[in-house]
C-alpha cells in the first residue's frame, strides 16, 4: 500500500513538474520603462525670471505585460513628482495607473481592468494613452469580444474612464468629478473573410456599426442634463484592385456640456477617404465634417479630459522643428476639412530618378469652420446660447472662416551611396486666434522650408545637417504692434533653425542646434534657443541628455495638443524595454 502511495505521489509530482515546466516555457514577459526629467533654471533672456517654486519635473512610467497562451495581463505604474512643465498639474502623483487581464481563445476574448480600444475611426469611441501628451482616457471596466463566425467580430464593453488620479468609486462623485459610465457595442463584418467566393476577390468590403452611450449624473442646478447620451456610427470600407474607399458617419444626441456651452443640438461627423496606390505612386483624398462632436464622460470636462471619442485629423504631420511649430488642433465644435496627398517615386535609372530613384510628395489640407445659423429661443434669435438648441447648420455649407491650410511639397533623394537629402517647402495659413486662443492675434501666414542632409562618413559614422527657415508674410521685424499686445507675439515672426548631428552607430549620437526667432516684431523676443544633446543607445536602452532652451509651442499627436511653455535647463530621458 505504502509502495503504491509513493508511486502515486511520484507520478503526481512528475506530472506537476512537467505541467509547470510547460507553463513556464509558454510564459512571456515584456515591458518598458521610461523616465523624463527636466531641471529648470532662470533665464531672463527668454523671460523666465521666476521658476514659480518648481526647479524640477519628473515624469516616469514602467509597464510589465505577461502572456501565457490565451492569457495575458499587465500593469503600468506612473510617477509625476512633480509633473514637467506643460503637463496638467492634476497628473502630479504616483501610483498604479493601469492594470488588465485578458483571456482570448479566438472565439471569445474577455478583458477586465483598463481597456484601450477603438470603434471604427474613433468618432464614437476611442481610449488610448499618449505619453508625450500626458493623456490617458483608459476605460476601467470589462470587455467581451466574440467572433461567432469567420469575418464577424462583436464587441461589448463598459466602465469608467481614467481621470488623472481620481478614484473610480461612485461614492466619490462630487461637483468636480461627475464622471459617467461608458457602455458600448461594436460589430464588424468582413465579407471577404465570411464569404468563400470573395476570399481571393479583388473586390473587398467590410461593414461596421457602433453604439456608445454614457450614463452620467445630472448635477446641474439650472439645466436638465440628459443622463443617458447615446452616439451611433456606421462605416463602410470598399476596395477594388488598387482603389480603396472608406467612410464613416456618426450621430450623437443632445449632449450639453462645458465644451459646447451647454447647447442641446445633436452632433454629427462624417469622414470619407478615397485612395489609389500602385508601385511608385499613391494618392489619397479625404474629406471630413464635424459638428458639435465633443463626447466626454463628464459634461463639465475641459480640454482633452475624459474624451470618449476621437476625431481623426486629416492634416500632414510635420516632424521637423519649424514646420511643426504651428500644428493644427482638431476643433470638435465644428470644422470642414479636406486633404489631398500624392506620392510619386521617379524610377531608378531615369534622368530625374538617378541611380536610386527620387521620391516626391505633395500634400494640401485645409480646414474651415462650419456655417451656423441662429435659432429662436424664448422669442430671441440666438447662436450658441446656453440652454438653447444652439444653432442649425447646413450639412454641406462651408464657412468663409478658414482655420488652417497647409500646402507642402517634398523631395526625398539618395544622391549617392553616402549622401541623402530631403527638402520640403510649406505654405501655411494658421488661425492662431482660434487654434491657440490668442485673441486678436493676426493669422500666421508663412512660408517654411527645410533641407535635411545626411552624409555617411563610413559604415559607422554619419553627419546630418538640418537647415530650416520660417518666414511670415505679414508679421516680422518692423511690424507695428501695440505695446499692450506684445505678449501675443512671443513666437511670431521669422525663424531660422540649424542642427548638426554626428552619429556613431550603434551607440552614440551628438547634436547641437539653434532655433533663432530673428524676425520677431518685438525686439526683446528675438531670442536664440540653443540646445546640445547627447544620446546613447544600447540594445533597447536609450539615454538622452540635452541642455539648453526650449521655445514656447504646442505638442500635438493626432490633432490632440498640449501647450509647452518656454523653459531653460537640462533634460534627461532614460528608456528601456525588454
Amino acid at each position: 500500500m505504502r509502495k503504491y502511495l509513493l508511486i502515486t505521489v511520484a507520478l503526481a509530482l512528475f506530472s506537476f513538474r512537467a505541467s509547470a515546466q510547460s507553463f513556464l516555457e509558454n510564459s512571456q514577459v515584456n515591458g518598458s520603462f521610461q523616465t523624463d526629467a527636466q531641471y529648470y533654471v532662470l533665464d531672463k533672456g527668454i523671460g523666465i525670471d521666476d521658476l514659480l517654486g518648481k526647479k524640477m519635473g519628473i515624469n516616469g512610467f514602467g509597464k510589465v505585460n505577461y502572456t501565457n497562451g490565451n492569457f495575458s495581463a499587465g500593469v503600468r505604474f506612473e510617477a509625476f513628482l512633480p509633473e514637467m512643465n506643460g503637463f496638467r498639474s492634476e497628473l502630479k502623483g504616483v501610483g498604479l495607473a493601469n492594470f488588465f487581464a485578458t483571456y482570448d481563445n479566438g472565439f471569445i476574448g474577455m478583458t477586465v481592468g483598463d481597456i484601450y480600444d477603438q470603434f471604427g475611426c474613433g468618432f464614437v469611441f476611442r481610449t488610448y494613452e499618449e505619453w508625450s501628451l500626458g493623456m490617458d482616457n483608459a476605460l476601467r471596466g470589462a470587455r467581451v469580444v466574440i467572433r461567432p463566425t469567420k469575418g464577424v467580430t462583436l464587441k461589448g464593453l463598459y466602465g469608467r474612464q481614467r481621470y488623472y488620479w481620481a478614484p473610480y468609486l461612485e461614492r466619490d462623485f462630487n461637483d468636480d468629478d461627475t464622471r459617467g459610465i461608458v457602455r458600448g457595442v461594436d460589430a464588424e463584418w468582413d465579407l471577404n473573410q465570411s464569404i468563400p467566393a470573395l476570399n481571393d476577390s479583388k473586390f473587398r468590403m467590410s461593414l461596421g456599426g457602433s453604439f456608445v452611450s454614457k450614463k452620467q449624473y445630472d448635477m446641474s442646478i439650472f439645466y436638465y442634463i440628459p443622463e443617458n447620451v447615446g452616439a451611433a456610427a456606421g462605416r463602410l470600407n470598399l476596395g477594388y484592385g488598387n482603389w480603396s474607399f472608406s467612410t464613416e458617419y456618426a450621430y450623437k444626441i443632445n449632449d450639453p456640456s462645458a465644451i459646447n456651452n451647454f447647447i442641446y443640438k445633436e452632433g454629427q461627423a462624417l469622414m470619407a477617404s478615397l485612395s489609389y496606390s500602385q508601385k511608385g505612386f499613391g494618392a489619397v483624398l479625404q474629406v471630413k465634417r464635424v459638428d458639435n462632436m465633443s463626447f466626454k464622460s463628464m459634461y463639465t470636462g475641459k480640454q482633452n479630459d475624459l474624451d470618449i471619442n476621437f476625431i481623426p485629423p486629416i492634416n500632414y504631420t510635420h516632424t521637423h522643428s519649424l514646420p511643426s511649430m504651428y500644428t493644427y488642433s482638431t476643433q470638435p465644435n465644428g470644422e470642414m476639412a479636406a486633404q489631398l496627398q500624392v506620392n510619386y517615386t521617379i524610377p531608378k535609372g531615369t534622368a530625374l530618378g538617378g541611380k536610386y530613384g527620387t521620391k516626391l510628395a505633395f500634400n494640401m489640407s485645409q480646414v474651415n469652420d462650419i456655417v451656423r445659423d441662429s435659432v429662436m429661443d424664448n422669442g430671441r434669435m440666438v447662436i450658441s446660447r446656453p440652454g438653447s438648441l444652439g444653432y442649425t447648420s447646413r450639412f454641406f455649407a462651408v464657412s468663409n472662416h478658414r482655420f488652417f491650410r497647409d500646402i507642402n511639397f517634398e523631395i526625398d533623394k539618395r544622391i549617392s551611396k553616402d549622401w541623402h537629402i530631403t527638402a520640403q517647402y510649406i505654405n501655411l495659413y494658421y488661425d492662431i486666434e482660434t487654434i491657440e486662443g490668442h485673441a486678436g492675434a493676426p493669422v500666421v501666414k508663412a512660408n517654411i522650408g527645410f533641407l535635411d542632409l545626411t552624409y555617411k562618413i563610413n559604415k559607422k559614422q554619419s553627419l546630418r545637417l538640418e537647415l530650416q527657415g520660417l518666414w511670415e508674410n505679414e508679421v516680422h521685424a518692423g511690424y507695428e504692434y501695440e505695446e499692450s499686445e506684445k505678449k501675443d507675439y512671443q513666437k511670431r515672426g521669422d525663424w531660422a533653425f540649424a542642427l548638426l548631428e554626428y552619429t556613431i552607430t550603434p551607440h552614440w549620437s551628438f547634436s547641437i542646434a539653434d532655433k533663432w526667432n530673428y524676425g520677431n516684431p518685438v525686439e526683446e523676443y528675438r531670442d536664440h534657443y540653443f540646445t546640445g544633446t547627447v544620446s546613447y543607445i544600447h540594445e533597447a536602452t536609450r539615454i538622452m541628455l540635452s541642455a539648453g532652451r526650449q521655445s514656447e509651442g504646442v505638442v500635438c499627436v493626432g490633432g490632440v495638443c498640449r501647450t509647452v511653455p518656454a523653459s531653460s535647463g537640462v533634460t534627461l530621458t532614460v528608456s528601456t524595454s525588454f
Binding site: 466574440i146 461567432p148 463566425t149 462583436l154 461589448g156 461637483d175 457602455r183 458600448g184 457595442v185 460589430a187 453604439f211 456608445v212 452611450s213 450614463k215 446641474s220 442646478i221 439650472f222 439645466y223 436638465y224 442634463i225 440628459p226 443622463e227 443617458n228 447620451v229 447615446g230 451611433a232 444626441i253 443632445n254 450639453p256 462645458a258 456651452n261 451647454f262 442641446y264 463639465t300 475641459k302 469652420d369 450658441s384 446660447r385 446656453p386 440652454g387 438653447s388 438648441l389 464657412s399 472662416h401 486666434e433 482660434t434 486662443g437 485673441a439 486678436g440 501695440e482 499692450s484 499686445e485 505678449k487
Partner: protein, 268 residues
C-alpha cells in the same frame, strides 16, 4: 452561434433603447427657488473686449439673471486683464479699481460670486458659476440697502446716499462700495470667428464713487434698529450716456471680503 449573435443583438438593442435621453428643447431649464431671505447676489464678470470666449460667458451670467430674477442677481462687467487692453478700435473700459480687483489673474472670462473666497483664487470659471450663485441666493440677508441718487444734468454731478439697515443684531466690520455702471454700450468685441463691431456691452463697470475698497459702514456690534448712512459723489464723464447709467452698491464683510447684499438704482 446564432444564440450568441441573438444575445449580442438583444444587448445592443437594449443599450440603444436605454442609452438615450432626449431633453425637450422647450424645457431645458430646471425650476429653481431660493429658499431664504431676499438677498441679492453680485456676479463680477472679469471680461475683455478682445476675449473671444467672453461674450458666451456673459451670456451665461445673463441667463442666470434671466432665470433667477433681475432683482436677485446683479452683474458687473469688469474689463480687466490683458484681453481688456484697448487696442485699435477696441473700446477702453479699463478702470483702476477693476485692475485691483482682477488681482493679476491671467485669463478671461473669470467670475466672482459675492467675492467668494477672496484670499485664494476668488474667480470661478463660467462652468462653475451656477452652484455658487444658487448657494449665495440661499444665504441669510444681513443688511438691507436703500439708494437715493440726485443727478444734475448741467454739471453732470451725481450724489448718492445709501442707507444700510441691519436685519438683525450682529457684529463685524462692514464696508460698502458704490459703483458706477453704464449699460448698452456699442463697440468692438472679439467673437468666435472674428469681430462683432456692433456688440452691445452690458453693465460695464465705469469706476467707483468711493474707492476699490469702498468706505466704512459699521465697525463692531450693530443692532436691528440701527441705520448706517454713507454718501458719495462723482462727476459723470461727458462720454458716458447718463440715461444708461446706474449706481450699484454692495456691502461686504471687510475681514472675509464676502458680499452681504447688493442693490442697483438708475441715476435718473
Amino acid at each position: 452561434m446564432k444564440r450568441l449573435s441573438l444575445i449580442f443583438a438583444t444587448a445592443a438593442l437594449m443599450l440603444f433603447a436605454m442609452g438615450c435621453d432626449k431633453i425637450d428643447i422647450n424645457n431645458t431649464h430646471k425650476p429653481f427657488e431660493p429658499v431664504a431671505g431676499q438677498k441679492a447676489v453680485l456676479i463680477k464678470d472679469f471680461t475683455g473686449a478682445r476675449c473671444v470666449n467672453c461674450p458666451a460667458a456673459a451670456e451665461t451670467a445673463h441667463e442666470l439673471q434671466h432665470l433667477l430674477g433681475e432683482d436677485r442677481i446683479f452683474i458687473l462687467s469688469v474689463h480687466a486683464g490683458f484681453l481688456a487692453q484697448p487696442i485699435g478700435n477696441f473700446p477702453d473700459f479699463l478702470t483702476e479699481e477693476g485692475t485691483i480687483w482682477y488681482n493679476n489673474h491671467d485669463s478671461n472670462p473669470l467670475f466672482s460670486v459675492d467675492h467668494v473666497d477672496l484670499t485664494e483664487g476668488y474667480t470661478l470659471n463660467v462652468e462653475q458659476i451656477d452652484a455658487p450663485v444658487a448657494a449665495a441666493l440661499n444665504e441669510v440677508q444681513l443688511f438691507d440697502i436703500t439708494t437715493t441718487t440726485t443727478y444734475d444734468e448741467a454739471s453732470r454731478r451725481l450724489n448718492v446716499e445709501n442707507n444700510f439697515y441691519p436685519t438683525g443684531d450682529g457684529d463685524g466690520k462692514y464696508y460698502a462700495t458704490v459703483c458706477l455702471v453704464e449699460d448698452s454700450i456699442v463697440g468692438w468685441q472679439t467673437i468666435p470667428g472674428g469681430v462683432d463691431r456692433e456688440y452691445v456691452f452690458r453693465n460695464v463697470f465705469r469706476g467707483t464713487l468711493n474707492g476699490a475698497d469702498g468706505q466704512l459702514v459699521s465697525n463692531g456690534p450693530y443692532y436691528m434698529e440701527d441705520v448706517f448712512t454713507t454718501t458719495s459723489s462723482i462727476e459723470i464723464d461727458s462720454t458716458y450716456n447718463a440715461d444708461h447709467c446706474y449706481v450699484l452698491t454692495y456691502i461686504y464683510n471687510y475681514e472675509s471680503g464676502k458680499i452681504m447684499h447688493t442693490v442697483m438704482e438708475k441715476i435718473k
